[in-house]
Each structure stands twice: as C-alpha cells, then as structure tokens.
Symmetry: C2
C-alpha cells in the first residue's frame, strides 16, 4: 500500500492545521457578524452540472466519478461521460446556485451564504497549487442592489484586517463597463470575450503587448487604438472621478446607472470602512469567469504580490437551474494563499491554551495511575490542555519534544518519591 497522498494532493500537519482552524474561526466570527449564515453542499455534483458551462476552463479539470453496479457498462462506454455520472466540484459558486434553486422557498430573502470547504481541480501539479484546496466564499442572493457589493467589501476587508493584513487594495470594475468600452471601440459583439482575454494580460505584457495581440488576432488597428485610448482618460484620477472620466468618454455607449452604481459603492465604502485600504477603479480588470454580469473585484496585498481574493456579481447563474434569474453577488478569499503567507511568516496563533504533560513511570500501580488521571481531570477543568502519557526511555529527548509542542509544564508521576 502507498503511504504518499495521491499525486497533487497533500496531508495537512498539526502545525499548519492550528493556523487553518484559527483563520476559519475568524472567518466564521466575522462573516456571521455581517449576517452571513453557514451552509454546505456535497463535494460531489452531477456530471451535467459540472459540464454546464458555468465553470469555464475549470470544467476541463473535473475529477470524474465512475458509474457503479449495473449502470456501468464498460464494454459499451465510448466516451468519458458515458462511464461517469458525477464528479468533484471545482468551485463553491455553481453548487451554491444549485442549492439556492433547490431550497429557495426555505431560505430568507436576501440569502447571505457563507461556505468553507474543499474543491478539486485536476490541474498540472505545481509549487503551492494543489488538486484539493479550500475555498471560502460569501454570497448574497436575491438582492439586486449595491448594498450587496458594499457589504461584501466591508465584510471581507474587516476579515483581512483581523487576520493581520495591512495596506491591501481592492480593485473594482464592472462587466457592463467593459462591454461598453469594447462596443465603443468597435469590436464585434460576438468577439468581446476574446478582447477581454487579451486585456486580462495587461499586467504581464503591458499596453503595447495588448495592442499587438489584438491586432494579430485580426481586430482592426483603429479599434485597438480607440480602445486603449479609453484607459488613459482616467490616468491621474481616482475613485468616482476616474469612473466619471470614463463615463464621459463613452457617452451613450454606457448603459444607464452603471457609473452611478460604482460611484455609490466608492462613496459608501469610503465612509463606512473600518480599516485602512484603498478601493481603486481599474478599467482593465477582467476576472476570468464568464458568468459575471456587473461589478467585479480583486483584492491584492502589495507586499505579497498575488491576489488574495476576488468576486463579483453574477445575476444569471441561478437562472440556469431555476429557469428564472435571481440576482447574486459573491466574494471569495484566497484561503490557501492566505494560509501559506501566514505559514511562511511563522505565524503564531494568539491565545493558545497552557499545556501540561503528565508523564507516567513504566509499570505504575493502578493507585498511582488513578492519581495521574485525577490530576489531569483537575487541570483540564481549569482550562488547560493536558497530555497523559508514558515516560519515554530517552527522557531528555521526550522533554525537548514536548517543549517544542508547547508543553511548558511537565509533571512526572513516579511510583515512589525519587531519592
């Protein structure tokens, strides 16, 4: 039998687990204070739902589960989906949409959901990325107003502050604005997703690289230039001013209400935030998933480079299950990324309990053993974490090991007083 975890997955050792548990505790405490309620769906979803085009590229990475018993016909199965009836979920958003469609009548309106759990992607294994990892999402369903966006931003930033992050930044954009910009530039409507994929590389290839890629994809130079000029109108401006500059440039191309909506989010978040962070308008922000329909976000902590979370509005996903759209907006923190930053920092969980080890001499009489367990019971009642175990032959090594685990107090129980 094989003692290694399956390829691309990993075991979690006690030291990291303590940090994970602590962060999960903060997540629950903070998000509950904002009125979010925990819920859960199974790790397994039907193969139809996992191939329903809500997962974009992630649908190519599904771990598929074989049919069982009579339903599995190996001889006749020509394709993967004939042999499989289900698979492991690749995110928590599609299952939430299914959950909401299934239980709408039993849920409050709006429904503020908190989910924490493992998701699975058969990605190429690489450093720091695993095929099972936790996601931690908050979503508000059944409310079309920007109260959702505001609550999601306030809740997430409050959490990040409690975890100990400082000086982070939330970039915000709107899918409708992105579409309007592409339309204004004259890109054909059926190819805007291609435009967005190129735009999404701005960070890496710069504005020149974006222009080059657009043109080599067959878009006109005129459209590319008209498009890229739009990004310069908000240079030197921030927040609402930047939004208004783009709005003025776009004129009629922008649907009504989009810029006002963003401006309100800027204003209210600026007034009600309870920690120091920047909300930044970024007209180049795309976000990978195709299902977004309105405002989109991404959080970054400059000192750690990469993104630690993101989200957006997706008003059309529940409709795929229910036949009728339900407004929805969600935010996901990069749980594993945050944990790995904390682990790298040598993070210590605050307020750990005092630990006592009670060590029993070998072949102790029942009377003395009783005494040891009664002692443990008293200490546990006082709130201590108590280990009862046998003395090792190498006593010094045992004590060093216990000290490393945080056992500051060690009580030796001998049959007779030592002379």
């Amino acid at each position: 039998m094989n003692k290694k975890p399956v390829n691309g997955m990993r075991d979690i050792l006690p030291t990291e687990m303590e940090i994970r548990d602590y962060v999960i505790g903060l997540v629950k405490e903070t998000y509950k204070a904002f009125g979010f309620t925990p819920m859960e769906t199974p790790c397994v979803e039907s193969i139809e739902n996992l191939s329903g085009k809500q997962g974009g590229e992630n649908e190519k990475l599904v771990f598929k589960i074989m049919k069982r018993g009579e339903k599995l016909k190996i001889e006749n199965g020509k394709t993967e989906n004939e042999l499989a009836d289900s698979g492991l979920r690749y995110d928590l958003t599609m299952p939430l949409a299914r959950f909401y469609a299934n239980h709408q009548a039993e849920l409050p309106k709006p429904f503020k959901a908190l989910q924490i759990g493992p998701v699975f992607r058969a990605d190429r294994p690489q450093k720091g990325r695993f095929r099972q990892f936790y996601q931690c999402d908050i979503d508000i369903l059944g409310d079309a107003s920007n109260l959702c966006e505001i609550e999601l931003i306030l809740a997430t930033t409050t959490l990040l502050r409690k975890i100990g992050f400082k000086g982070f930044e939330i970039r915000i954009n709107d899918r409708r604005l992105l579409r309007a910009m592409a339309g204004y530039a004259g890109f054909p409507e059926d190819r805007v997703d291609e435009v967005f994929i190129t735009l999404d590389k701005m960070d890496k290839i710069g504005i020149g690289g974006v222009r080059e890629e657009l043109v080599s994809s067959g878009f006109s130079e005129e459209s590319a230039d008209r498009y890229l000029a739009l990004f310069s109108v908000c240079e030197g401006k921030t927040g609402t001013d930047a939004v208004l500059a783009v709005r003025d440039a776009l004129k009629d191309a922008l649907p009504e209400g989009v810029s006002e909506n963003l401006s309100e989010i800027f204003r209210i978040v600026g007034a009600a935030k309870d920690c120091d962070f920047e909300l930044v308008f970024d007209p180049t922000l795309v976000r990978g998933m195709g299902y977004y329909t309105g405002p989109i976000f991404e959080i970054s902590v400059p000192e750690f480079g990469s993104s630690v979370g993101g989200g957006g509005r997706y008003d059309e996903m529940v409709g795929k299950f229910l036949g009728q759209n339900v407004p929805a907006c969600g935010f996901s923190i990069g749980f594993e990324r945050i944990i790995s930053i904390l682990v790298d920092q040598g993070y210590r969980v605050p307020g750990s309990k005092a630990r006592t080890a009670i060590l029993l001499e070998k072949n102790l009489s029942p009377e003395k053993t009783e005494e040891a367990f009664l002692r443990a019971r008293e200490l546990r009642k006082e709130g201590k974490q108590v280990l009862v175990t046998a003395m090792a032959k190498n006593r010094r090594f045992q004590k060093e090991q216990l000290a490393a685990e945080g056992y500051q107090e060690i009580i030796d129980i001998y049959e007779r007083p030592l002379e």
Copy 2:
C-alpha cells in the same frame, strides 16, 4: 441543469449548519484539552489503498475516480480498476494510518490525532443514511499501553456530556478474548471470523438464533454449546468481576495480560471519569471491522436506541504502509447520528449572538445609506450580528421572517422622519 444534489447526498441548510458548527466547536475544544491535535488528509486516496483490505465491506462501496488525459484508455480498459486511479475515502482510519506512515518522523510520539471530515460510501440510499457524511475520530498512535483506551474513553464521554447526553453506556470487549473463546469452544481457527459475524447478530436473533446459525453454517453442536455456555458465566456480574469470571472459565486459552488489561481500564475509568456513565463488559461485542487487534468499544444512549460511537485498538494497520507495526487505538463518534438526534429534539445552540436587522427604505440617498452602514459598524463592534438590507414591499412578512431567523431588533432607516 439539475437543481437536486446527486442521488444519496444532501445539502445542509443554515439551521442544521448552526448546530453542526456548534458541535464541531465542542469537539475541538474538548479533544484539544485531552492533548489531541487536528490534522487532515485529502478526500481522495489511491485506488490501491482503497482496495487494500483495510476497509472490509466498505471497499465495495468506493466511489472510483477515472484516470485523466492520456492515462485513460477507454478502448483497452476491461475492468473498473484499469479505468480508475483513485477514489473517495470511505473512512478516516485508513487515511490516518497512511498519514502516520508518511509523516512519522515529523510527528510527536505518541501522536494524538483529531480528524473531522467527510467520507463517502456508495451505499443503497435509505432514510437517515447518506452517501457523504462526516466522521469525527480521535486516535492515539505509537503507544501500546492502555493509557490510550483510558484517554479515549474519558475524552469521548466528556464530549458527549458537553453535548448534553446523559445516561449513556460504553460496552467494552477485547478481540483477543473473542478469539480465545472461539478457540476454547473448538471452532477451527481459520473460520473464527464467520463465528464472529454470527455472534454479532446476538442483539437481533438472540442466543437461540446464534446457535441455529452456527450449526447450519456447519459448525459442530458441541462447539456451539460450549461457546454459548461461556456467555452465561458472567451473568449477574459487572465490570472486573465479569471479566474475571470469563477468564476463569477460559483458563489457559486466554493469552496473558488480556483480562488484567481490561480490569485496569475498568478501575481507572471508574475513578477518573467526570460524568455519569456505565462501562459495561460485553463478551458478545464484535464490531464490524476486521482490523481490530485488542480492546473494542461501542457507545450507546439507551433513549436513542442505536450506537453513537465506537472504536478499538488496531495495532497492525500502520504496518501495511510502513512494513513495521505501530500500536494504534481510536474512537469515532457517530457525528451524523448525534446531529440528527439534536435536530429532532429541536436543539437550540446556546449563547447565540444578539441579532439586529437594519432595513433601508428604497432609493435612500447616499447620506442616509452611509448613516445605516455606520450604525451597522458600531453595532458589530459591540459584538452584535447585523444584517443590512433593503425594506421589502411586504414589510410585515419581512419582519416575521427576520424574527424567525432570530433578529430581535429591527432598525428602519427612512429618508425622512415618518409623520
């Protein structure tokens, strides 16, 4: 797309989730006080490990995951295991043994593990049993002494008391005693597992039924009678007295130390327990899994009929991974059973936070919206759970719904004071 969960699995709604989270909190708090440390393995294990005969009947219920990409050769695959490379874990014990074998050098000795997580069995769907369910296990690895059994019993009973159970009972037996009894009765050694399967039905078919089944399985009447007579020697006796009565009847057939070991467990648990429960010697207790090698346990709460947990010593499982045995002993509480009992009782989580809903009139000005969020911020700082949301058209229904969710305080924010 399909809004139902996959066949045999289920969604967990906020009301139940609150109870689950509360119980998981108690589990962690209690078991940590006994020196157990949380750890985690992936939900997915290799197909070899899931077919390694450590899971007994559960291995027939594995959800198998198909190979991916080039490794999947649908045309050539003749058997399930040629198409699958992994599957979902059916319990937490086999993965723990793998984990220990993999990380032994990094772990304290003894290693006291706490695991809480989902496991998966493609069982026939039936009322109250689901294909994904949580297990909650504590195990001690690397210690052969009965300090393990004692700690496991004390920790588990302390937890059950904290959850609110009373008058429960732990039945205890020892696999070596079971084997000795079978040997003494003259059953062939290579068929004792069959004897145990029949004995395990004692609850349902009674002593007469057991005799009948043994004889019809081809065992001699003499052996059957000699065997069943052993169970009557401890009638009317309890605890150590009952153990000693069986020991005296078995004479040399019982390996040295087995009855002394049980007697010590009775004595120390009796002295050190911190709540009222009975530890009962039950020579008919078998426990399903073949991997047990020493003491075995089962917990029942008479008022709820079925078992709410069990466990035992399994000194040979880590050896299947490591090539060298490591003593191990574990206890699993029936997490889902306990939750369903609490849900049926209409259990209320103690000490829930005060909840306030702030309702915003439609089309509120930014000034008033700001005011609402600032109010929410203050209340959250005071430790309250605060929901900020729009007023519904049907105000009365909204308030009733909020009251049902535990929002005792409702603050209405209007643009202008009501006249």
